[in-house]
Structure formats: C-alpha cells, structure tokens
Amino acid sequence: MNTTFGNRITAGFVALSTLVPMLVGAQSLPADTTARFRVGVDVGGGYAYKLRSTNQLPGNYTRGGPATTVRVKWGSHNVIGAGIETGWLPISSLLSSGASTSLGATNIDASLSAVPLLFIVALQRSNVQLHGGFGYYRVSATATVFESTIESSEWDFGYMLALGYVYPLNPSVRVGAEVKWNNISEVQISLLSLQARVLVSLWEW
C-alpha cells in the first residue's frame, strides 16, 4: 500500500550497494598512503542541470541553475573519509505569461529547489576523489498562479554520487572540480552538476 516506503527500501539498497564496494575498495589500498587524520570543510559552487523534465506547463522553463555544496568531513589524508553534506540545488523554474488553463488565463511564476542533508563517505586515490552519500533532501516549491502564491516543502529520501579531482595548493588547502549526480529518488528528480571546489583542513593530527 505504501509505495513511499518501498522507494526508501530500494534507495537504501542502492546506497548500500554503492558504499560497500567503496569501503571494500578502500581496504585494498596500500597501507602507506595514510598516516594522519584531519577534519576539513569542502565548499563547491557550479551549475546543476535537471536530467529529466516532467514539466507540462507552457512558458519559459529553466532546468537547474547555480548550485552550491558544503561538506564537513573527517578522514585520513589519502584513503577514506566520512561526513555530512548540504548545499543548495535549484531544480527548475518556470515563468509564463497569460497561460491558458481550465480555470482561465493566468501568469505563472514557479520554482523548485532542494537542500540536501546527506551522510557521505569519501574515497580518495592519488588526487581523484569519489563521494557517495544518502539521506534526505528538503524539497521546496514556490508557485504563483492567479495572483496567489503558495510555498510547500517536504523531506524526500535520496542519494548522491560524485567524482572529483583535487590539487593541493599547500598542506591545508586544495582546489579541484567534480561532477556530481544527485538523485532525489522519492520524487524521481535527478540533477547532474559540475562544481569547482575548495577544500580546507580545519584540524589535523
């Protein structure tokens, strides 16, 4: 009866299927690649693109937009890390003037965005980083029709996978770029983004 629950089970399975091989892969890395630990913050910015449009309304429809990522991670220098990720994902927007509807003509101004709150695991080899995570997205819609505005939000389960490259500027700061796939599985929304990143170590030991 509850398909949402089924979606969560499926998504959880997918997330585990992703993370377990990553962890197993990490164990197979050479032991001498790690010596110290650190807590760092990872900030990214770029552009996200919605992969599949379900919009059926007329007007100027935009998929995605400028996106940001903020991660706080604990981890060893070169092998594996874990942490949380948040940020901002503009999903889509629509501007329509005098759209014809069954209730008459109206202007439409609508937008959809998401804020992820994900548990992530990171794997690094050389300067290549792979991030995978799952958790919830706060998905929000704002829509104005017939000169009346509503705002509506909900938490939806989803996951994330990102592949990036980082280059050390000094022992505490690295820069890089990554390609990221966010899938808000519960509402069937997927975004692909390309983001520039700055990684800063806050504490090391």
Partner: protein
C-alpha cells in the same frame, strides 16, 4: 577501484530501471470491430446471458468456471484463474449475438482483444426470441492488439444467485490503484465511469480539502509522482488552493484532480453505482461532506436514482468532528471502529478492517440493530472466500472488484 565502478554501474542501472512509468491502454479493434455493424440488444435478451459458465476451451488460462454479468451496455466476464476480467460490448447480427472487447488480468498487465459469438444454432436464436436454450459462447482471444486467435468456449451452466439481501462490491480509491496500471487514474472521474465493468456496484472515495476549503478526492496526504504529474506541485496537498492544483498538476494519466462535487455528479448521472463511501481523510472536510451528502441524495432522488452516500469515519478526529456537527443525527455515517463507536455515532454501516477476522457474532448484532457491515480492504481470493462463506457481511472494499464479483457470483 573495480568495485567502486561496480557500485557506480549498479547505481546507474537501478536509476534507469526505476525511472520509467508504465500504463496499460485498452486494446481496441481496428475500425471499431464487428460490433459497429450490430443492432442493440434488449435488456430482456441481455438478462438471459447473465450466469455462470463452464469453460470448455481456454481453461488452461482462465480456469474451469467463469461468471458473466451485464452492467448497462457492458457484458463483463470474471474468471477465477489468473483473476481476469473481460469487458465486452454486445450486439445482434442477424440471429446471432456478438460480444467484443478486451480481456485483462486484474493483477498483471496482460491484456488483449477478444470476441465471442452466440450463434443462432447454439442458443442465439432462442435468446433473441425470448425463449430459453442451451447457450454456448464461442470466442477467441489474443495478446495486445493482435487478432484474437486462441479459442475460448463458454457453456452456460446456471443463472447468477439471487441473494436475499443486497451485496456491495466496493471499489477502493474510486475504482482501483495506480499501481495496477488501470487505463484511468485512481480517484478520477474516468475511473468512476468504468468501475462497474470490473464488477463493482459501489465506490470508496478519499476526501481531502484544499487550502481554500474545496473538497477534492485524493488518497495521499502529499502530492507525489505516485499520483500526479506536475513538476512544481510537491508537499502536502492541503498547502494548495484548488486553482493551484488545477493549474500546476494533473493525475497520473492526465486527468485533473476532481472536486468531490464532480465525482458525486458523475456517480449520479453517468454510472449505475448504488453507494458511495466518502472516506474522511481530514476531519475539517466533515461539514462539507454532510452538506454534499444531503445535496446529492436529493439530486439522485430527483433523477430517479437510488444512490446512498456514506460519510466514512476512520479516525477519532473524524468521529469527533462528525459528532460536533449539528446535523450529524440525520447524516448517514460509516464508522470503522468498534461496535460501541458505531452506536455512539449512530452509524448506518460498520466498516471494520478484514484483519480483525469475520467477527460473525458482532456482525449479526449489527444486523439486529438495523446496520450493515462492510469489510475493508480484501484483495486475496482465499480470504474473500472465507468472508463470503461466513455469509453474514453486506459488502467488501477491494482493489480488485472483479475478484470479489467472481467469488460472490460463482457460489452455488
């Protein structure tokens, strides 16, 4: 690193495999089929085809016994094996009767075209003349839109049982669930108009309120891709005004989310349904439901229809809202709780969950108090049989009316 790639590939595979929607469309004969050249059948002729049939050919697919029953201009056949139903239009060609349409498994997406003939020499002439004779429906069925080629032969065994009191086969969610890939969305006006084809004579509707107080029919608390299309409609449906819903989203198969008034008008004017269970999803809807119950009871009576509208009380909050309404003593309710709550709300019908068992003594007690008992939601033939064999219930809510109809009518 290979294992990392394996994980990524698996993730991509699952995403691709889960992102597709599917619906099952009704197959149609090219050019409308032979039925377009037939003459309309009289009701007296149709009545002679209602009955239980043995399956002489095609029983490996549809079982040894099937039930055939007219609803208006549609002849439906319900099978035990594979829980199939046939939806057929009938007409007269010379001294024979032709029945044509589609078949479908209720629990799967298998479907196809089908055609039957009641030949003049095999009972057709007598049936058309108003006399009786052994009836043999010789037919064929196929897969999808391919020309029917597999034989299906039905021999009339006996008439349908004539029950001592009415029995309601109540279709859940306005006729069925989206997960069963019906040709119309759940809780849509289109589904209401075809639900009798599946064997239902009553429907359950889920009533919610928009932010501007319009009663609508919609099952879930939140808008989601399970029920709607519409990129900018997300979160609780109660956040949205009716104008927002109508503009921003559609039901899964492209229909607008109906107002309760539209649904009740459809039931009264476009169906032969005799009962509507209005399930109260939010207690704030109770005053509007009581008002609409009165309005549409009068409307049905004006049109010469006998339709009963019941206000479902599934929660303590709904019961409290119902009892707080000044007109509740004259409103007809269906209470899902215990018999004490049924008496407290003076409900016309008790609607317990099937999971509580047949509760025969309590059902008899309710009957003695002049109330009826509908169990929800029974979908498995084995359990439906258990409840029917108790012989005391008045109705069953189901996602598969064709299964209940088969099990109800096939009993001797």
């Amino acid at each position: 690193m290979n294992k990392v790639l394996q994980g990524a590939v698996l993730l991509a595979f699952v995403f691709v495999s889960c992102s597709g929607d599917f619906t099952v469309s009704v197959p149609e004969f090219e050019g409308g089929g032979a039925i377009t050249k037939s003459l309309r059948l009289d009701d007296s002729v149709k009545a002679k085809l209602n009955g239980v049939y043995s399956v002489e050919s095609g029983f490996d697919i549809f079982g040894r016994t099937v039930v055939g029953k007219w609803n208006g201009n549609t002849f439906s056949i319900f099978t035990g094996k594979n829980s199939a139903y046939f939806v057929l239009q009938g007409g007269r060609v010379d001294s024979s009767i032709v029945l044509e349409g589609y078949w479908r498994y209720a629990r799967a997406v298998n479907t196809g075209l089908t055609r039957f003939m009641l030949d003049a020499q095999e009972g057709g002439r007598e049936v058309l003349q108003g006399t009786t004779a052994p009836i043999v429906l010789r037919g064929t069925f196929g897969e999808g839109t391919s020309t029917p080629g597999s034989a299906l032969v039905l021999r009339y065994l006996r008439p349908l049982p004539q029950p001592a009191r009415p029995f309601w086969t109540i279709a859940h969610r306005g006729g069925g669930r989206n997960s069963d890939a019906l040709p119309e969305s759940e809780n849509s006006l289109g589904l209401l108009q075809i639900v009798e084809h599946f064997g239902a004579n009553a429907v359950e509707l889920d009533v919610r309120l928009t932010s501007d107080g319009v009663p609508i029919i919609f099952h879930d608390e939140n808008l989601s891709p399970r029920l709607i299309t519409g990129e900018f409609a997300i979160g609780p449906i109660a956040n949205y005004s009716y104008a927002h819903l109508r503009t921003l989203c559609m039901l899964k198969n492209g229909e607008p989310i109906p107002k309760l008034t539209e649904a009740l008008e459809t039931v009264v004017t476009k169906t032969g349904l005799s009962l509507v269970w209005m399930d109260t999803k939010v207690p704030e809807a109770i005053p509007a439901m009581i008002a609409l119950q009165r309005e549409y009871s009068q409307r049905a009576a004006t049109l010469g229809r006998s339709v009963e509208f019941l206000i479902g009380l599934p929660t303590e909050e709904a019961m409290a809202a119902f009892l707080a309404h000044p007109l509740h003593p004259s409103a007809r309710a269906l209470c899902e709780f215990d018999v004490a709550d049924v008496r407290r709300t003076n409900a016309t019908v008790w609607g317990p969950s099937w999971a509580r068992g047949p509760m025969t003594e309590d059902v008899i007690t309710m009957h003695n108090e002049g109330r009826r008992v509908f169990f929800w939601t029974l979908d498995e033939a084995d359990y439906i049989r258990v409840f029917l064999n108790e012989g005391v219930l008045d109705g069953i809510v189901t996602d598969y009316p064709s299964i209940v109809a088969y099990e109800y009518y096939v009993r001797q």
